[in-house]
Structure formats: structure tokens, C-alpha cells
């Protein structure tokens, strides 16, 4: 896998406050790379530093093998950036914003018009192209922001908290949009503190805490690094789990814990299969009605929580 961005020993401080502490990351080409962390963990600073908005205090940043410091213009040409605050002019129409940022990003006049049409269709805003930006809804604004970042066909798209403050439906739309952008061979770097969506979306994830990268890898790798155990979740109509829990005590070696949580029995085990068999058998005998049964690995949220706790 070719790494499109290499970050080595990057540090950044504001006054005495260290925001980024010796960060090293490799971001692969044409993948969706997620950076997760709590608010104030340094996600936005990291993104703004790698694009050269903030000057780093130490470290090296390379885009496609070229140093940021010496190739700022080139790098800004291949990168599109959408911030969590909409980086557009409210008094311009959707189309005017795109035309303006397209011109700034050296899109030739001859192709600018077609680019605008293409991007507007892509983000599904073509119906609102003549609307003043200040009249757009939150979701439309976010899509326009992404459209502005895409107007010059960047090879890398950086999205800082793209689903922040959006309702679940709009969030899903934006997620789908990001997938479509990525499917067009664009590397996407995304920050979020919504772990579930990042887990589903990203090919690779870095966990940032207090300006440090705690873990970096695929979601699978991160989950595995946290725990090999799986969770078996059982939801019975009667919500009476005593008989089932008594039967499962025979599998003591395989089960590490059992607890009733929100009317569901959560069983943590190193091997889900024999536990599942025993659960289904017991339910069948008891004639109780099984509403739901699920097997899952530890969530990214749990991984994150565990890492954050461990690192204070």
C-alpha cells in the first residue's frame, strides 16, 4: 500500500500548551482515514498543521513524497479541505461560492463551469445552485462546504467533523457522500468524535488523545488489540434470564462475564459458538420467546474508552 501522506514526529504548541506531541502517521492512498478523539484532543490542529495553516514546531510532513514546507502551493492544489464551520460566504449563492473557490484553486475557466455542475450534482445541490448560502439548511451547507473542497478535483479530501451537529438522516447522507467521493479514488481524511460512524466508514483509524496518537490501524486491528472476546447478546420476551444464566455456568471456562443490561443478557466469551448453542437449546426447552440474539466483537467505542482511561 502506498502512503500518500507521511507525518513524522510532528509537534505543535500554542504558548505553553502542547497540542500535538510527537505525532507520526502514515495515511494510505485512496482510503478513508479516520482520526478520532475527544474534543480538544488536537484533531483539528493536526489537520490544519498538515495542510500548512499552522506552522509546526517540529517534525516533517510529506505529501506524495514532497515536503510540505517547500511545496505548499502544490500540496494545496491536491488537497481539498472542509472545516467543521462552513468555510463559505453566506452572501454568495451556492454557484458563486463554487466559482470563487474554483478560481482560487486554479481551475481553468474553460472547465470551471462543468466542474461546478458536476460537483453540484455529486453533492445533490444542483437544485439550489442559485440560492444564497445564508438560506441553506445545515445539511445543505455541509454539502456545499464539501463541494467547495472538491471543486478542483483534489486527490486528498480532508473533512473536519463533517457530521457535527447534523441529525441522523443528514449524517447518513454525508457518510454516503464520503463513500462516493472515496470510490472516485480520492483519499479521504476525516475527524470525528462519533465513533460508530467512523468505525463503519474508515479503512484506517488513528486514536488521538491529548495530542498523542494512542493507536493506529484498521478498525479490526484496533478491536483486536483491545480484546479477543466477543459479546453474545440475548433478548427474551419474559426478560427472565436466571435459568439461562444457571445453565451457562456449566461453560464457566469459556465465559468471562454475564450481566443484564437494558433488559438484555450480555455474555462475554472467548468462543461464542458453544455459548450460542447452549443459549438456543435452553430457550427452546423453556418455551420462552426469543426476540433477539446477536454476536459482536468489542466496539471501537470500548476500545477508545479503554485507551483513554489507560492514558489518563
Amino acid at each position: 500500500m502506498v502512503n500518500q501522506i507521511e507525518i513524522k514526529d510532528l509537534s505543535k504548541r500554542f504558548g505553553n500548551h502542547v497540542v500535538l506531541d510527537n505525532i507520526s502517521l502514515s495515511i494510505p492512498q485512496q482510503k478513508i482515514f479516520g482520526i478520532i478523539g475527544e474534543s480538544g484532543s488536537g484533531k483539528t490542529t493536526l489537520l490544519k498543521t498538515i495542510i500548512g495553516f499552522w506552522r509546526s514546531d517540529a517534525g516533517k510532513i510529506q505529501f506524495e513524497g514532497r515536503d510540505l514546507e517547500k511545496n505548499t502551493k502544490f500540496i494545496r492544489q491536491i488537497v481539498g479541505f472542509a472545516t467543521q464551520d462552513s468555510g463559505v460566504y453566506p452572501k454568495l449563492t451556492v454557484k458563486e461560492n463554487l466559482k470563487y473557490f474554483g478560481s482560487l484553486s486554479n481551475v481553468p475557466s474553460s472547465t470551471l463551469k462543468s466542474n461546478i455542475e458536476k460537483v453540484l450534482k455529486f453533492v445533490e445541490l444542483d437544485y439550489a445552485k442559485n440560492e444564497l448560502t445564508e438560506n441553506l439548511s445545515g445539511g445543505m451547507m455541509r454539502r456545499l462546504d464539501i463541494a467547495c473542497a472538491l471543486i478542483h478535483n483534489p486527490r486528498i479530501l480532508i473533512l473536519d467533523e463533517p457530521t457535527e451537529d447534523l441529525d441522523p438522516l443528514l449524517r447518513r447522507d454525508i457518510m454516503n457522500l464520503i463513500r462516493r467521493i472515496n470510490s472516485d479514488s480520492t483519499t479521504v481524511i476525516i475527524t470525528s468524535h462519533l465513533l460508530d460512524e467512523t468505525e463503519d466508514l474508515c479503512d484506517e483509524i488513528a486514536i488521538l488523545h491529548n495530542g498523542k496518537v494512542l493507536k493506529h490501524g484498521t478498525p479490526e486491528q484496533l478491536r483486536d488489540s483491545f480484546s479477543k472476546e466477543e459479546e453474545v447478546i440475548v433478548n427474551l420476551n419474559s426478560k427472565k434470564y436466571q435459568t439461562l444464566m444457571a445453565k451457562l455456568k456449566n461453560h464457566k471456562k469459556q465465559i468471562s462475564s454475564m450481566k443484564v443490561d437494558n433488559g438484555k443478557l450480555v455474555i462475554r466469551t472467548r468462543s461464542a459458538e458453544p455459548v450460542l448453542v447452549e443459549v438456543l437449546r435452553t430457550i427452546d426447552r423453556s418455551k420462552d420467546k426469543l426476540l433477539e440474539i446477536d454476536v459482536r466483537k468489542a466496539s471501537l467505542g470500548e476500545v477508545f474508552e479503554s485507551l483513554v482511561r489507560k492514558n489518563g
Partner: protein
Amino acid sequence: MVKLIEIVKKNLKILIRSKSSALIILLGPLLLILLVGSAFNTSSFSEITIGSYSGSYSDLSSSILTKLETDNYKVTKLENSEQCTDGVKSGIVNICIIFPDNLNIESGEEIELYVDQSRVNLVFAIKSAILSKVSERSDELSTDLTNTIITQLTQTSSELQLSRDEVISTQQKNSDLRTKVGELEVNIINMNVNFSEVDLIITEINNETDKLEADFNTTKFNKLENLVEAMSAEINNFNALDASKTNSLSKVSEINIDLGNSNIQLQNIRDTTDSIITRIDAIAVTDVDSIVSPIKTVTKPISKEETHINYLFPTLIMMVVMFVSILLSSITVIREKTSSAFFRNFISPTNSVVFIFATYLTNILIVILQLAIVFGVMMSFNPALSSTLINISIALLVITTTFILLGMILGYVFSSEETATIGSISLGTILLFFSNTIIPLETLPTGFRQIANYNIFVIGESIIRKLILFESSLKGILSELYLLGAYILIFIVVIFVIYRASTELYNIKRHLKGK
């Protein structure tokens, strides 16, 4: 170039679409010009209220007040001097005039004027206007007095001329008299009153008679001897004539001397009269007006204009240019800096020079538009402006550039629209205060005055005044243009120095605030 045009277009669209900005930008200067134009489109003061007090108004003091009233000043007679001076303090009257009781020209008393010195801009004008009216009345009185003096002098001169002629005539007569007295003296001197020979002859006659009597021994000659004796006695009386002659000569001599002295005195009178006449005649200026005002001063405008608005126009234009340029450019910069789109602009592959130049270009276009409106309106009042329009345009371009760059510096220095606005207005006010607009620069201490001469507002106003009022050529304003050019260069350097630092500092502040 495409980027530049796009940025300028974007800036203009944002300004125009913001209703308040559009209103201020397009209508503000026009409104200002119309307001000031209608307020100052007059050449005299009106609604100036004069308070006056006198314990007893004389004809003279009343005549001064009448004169002021005829010139449309509102005169209010107040009951006492305190009320009059308090009226100035409270602003009920603009000036208080206190006349001495029974003012007359002989008394030599002073008329007191009380003015509110804190109203610096008005006090000199009011004082000057009122004093000129009082002075007019004073001149009238002086004219009357001088007229009397001149008439008396002329009359004296002609009477002296007559007396002089009489003196000359008397002198002539005196001279004639002296001549005659001289002749008389000669005649007296020539008069022979010596009878000694006759005495000798009588003696001879007596001797001969005695001889004859002796010879003839007769007394018949006694009668002859008696006659001779009688004749001898008579001749003795003639001998007294000599003394009379001497006496007469002495008297004639005295008369001659007296006549000489008299002549000398007459000559003295004549000389004195001549001298007085010469001196009176030497008064070359006998015209009363010339004596009352020997040096006449007439204040003539060096420009053709007549109303205040034409004189105020350069200042007005400068105020519009200064405040609009500084405010607009600082606000444009600060809005861009605080805009959420700033980050996207910053990370675009566009040089900061393009953004800086585009900001300048946007502002200059707006100010040019405003000035075009202002000049359009002014040219309808004063078509002569068109003759200097090219020079004015060049000068205004330089002046506006200077103010815009200054405003941009403020925009980069401050971090919010509010502080930038306050900063811009404060700076504009300082520049305005240390110019001739509020108080004359000449009243400032030398150090301040020298600094104030480098005030951009002062330089700009001087350029515009020269161009509009005196129709000066570009050569005439070259030194000022060079000075503004130097300012422009300095400001450009400052902008480039602070651009990156100020935006980074602002973003750090915003970043830390966000946390």
C-alpha cells in the same frame, strides 16, 4: 488576474448584498454632501443672536445695534450685564456686547464683547463679523469728525492766504514809506541852517557902519545899526534850526529803524503764514475716507467661488475620502479575517499578495464610485470643476490609496470589527483634529504644528484645495504627492510585514478561544 477579478467581484457582491453596507457606501457620502451642501450654501451668518446691555443707551450705542439689526443679526437687549454674559454661557446668545452708559465719542470708553471661547470654530467668525459692524459705525463717526477737521483746515488755509496778501501789501507800503523817509532824511541833511557867515557879514556891516559914523561923524547911521541889530537878532533865531535839524534827523532815523523792524516782523508773519499754508497744502490726502482709513484692505477671494460650500468642498471631500477609506478598508480586512471562509482562502493555492491587492482594489473601486457620485452632484452646482477633473482624479487616487492602506493596517492590527471600527474612527478623528478643519494649525505649538504638517489629512486637503480652489497644476502639488507616495510605500511594507503575523495571531486567539 482571474483570481484578482474573482476576489474583487466577491468582495463587491458581499458589500452590495449586505443592505446596511450598501446603504452606507452608496448613500452615505451623497447624504453627507447634500446635508452639508444645503447647510453651508450661503455666504453669511444667519441666526446669530446678539445680547446687549447698557445702563443707558446713547445714540451711538443704539446706532451700532441698529446697524447689526439691519444685517439680520438678532439683537436682544438684556436687563443687566450678568444676564448678558450668562446668556453666552448658556448659549442663548452667541455674543454679548456691553456698552458703557451714555457712550459717546468723547468719552473714550470701551465696548466690551463677551464670547464663548470654547466654540473655537465659531468664535473667531462671530467676533470678526460683529467687530466689522462696530468698526463700520466707528468709521462713520471718524469720517464725520475728520470731515469737520478738514473743512476747518481748508477754511484756515484760505483765510491765511488772504492775510498773507495783506501782509505783503503792508510790507510794500512800509518799504515805500522807508524810501520816502530816507529821502526826507537826505533832504534834511542837505538843508543848510548854518548862519555863521551872516554873523560875520553883520559884524562887518556894523564895523563899516561904525567907520562911516566915525568918518562922517554923524548919527544918521544909527537906524541902520538898529536894523542890523534886529536882523542879527533874527539870525540868532535861525541858529536854533540846526538843533531842530539834528533832532529831526534823529526822529527820522528812529522812524526808519521802526519801519525796518516792522518790516522784519511783517516778514516773520509772512514766513509763518507761508509755512502754515505750505504745511496745510502739504497735506496731500485731504480725502476724508483716505484719512479715516489710510490703508484700505479689501478681502478678495483668490478663487471665484462665493458660497461656503465651495470653500468647504475640499475639506468635505477629504472627510468623505478619509473616513470612508479607513473604515471601509479596515472593515473589509477584518471581515475577511474573521470570516469562516478565511481558512479556505488561506489554504487555497493563491498568494497572499493577490488577497491584499484585491482588498485594496475593492476599496478603491468603492471610493471611486462614491467620489463619482459626490463630484457628479457638485458639478451640477459648479460646472467649472470639470476643468480640473483629471488632476483631481489623479490626486484623489493617491490620497485614497494612502487612506485605504492605512485602514488595511488597522484591519490587520485589530481582531474584531468593533475594535477596528473604533480604531478607524479614532484615527480619523485624530487626523481631523490636528488639521485646519477644527482649529487652525497656526494656533498649535510649533512642535505639534510641524508634526501636523505631515498629517495625511492636511496634505490631502492642501492638494484638493490647490486643485479645486486655485486650479493649480499637478506640478504645483508635486511635493505633496511625493510625500503621499512615501507614505504609500511605508504602508505597503507594513502591510506585508504584519499580514502573516496578524492573521496567525488572530487564528491562534480564535483557536484558543474555541477551546
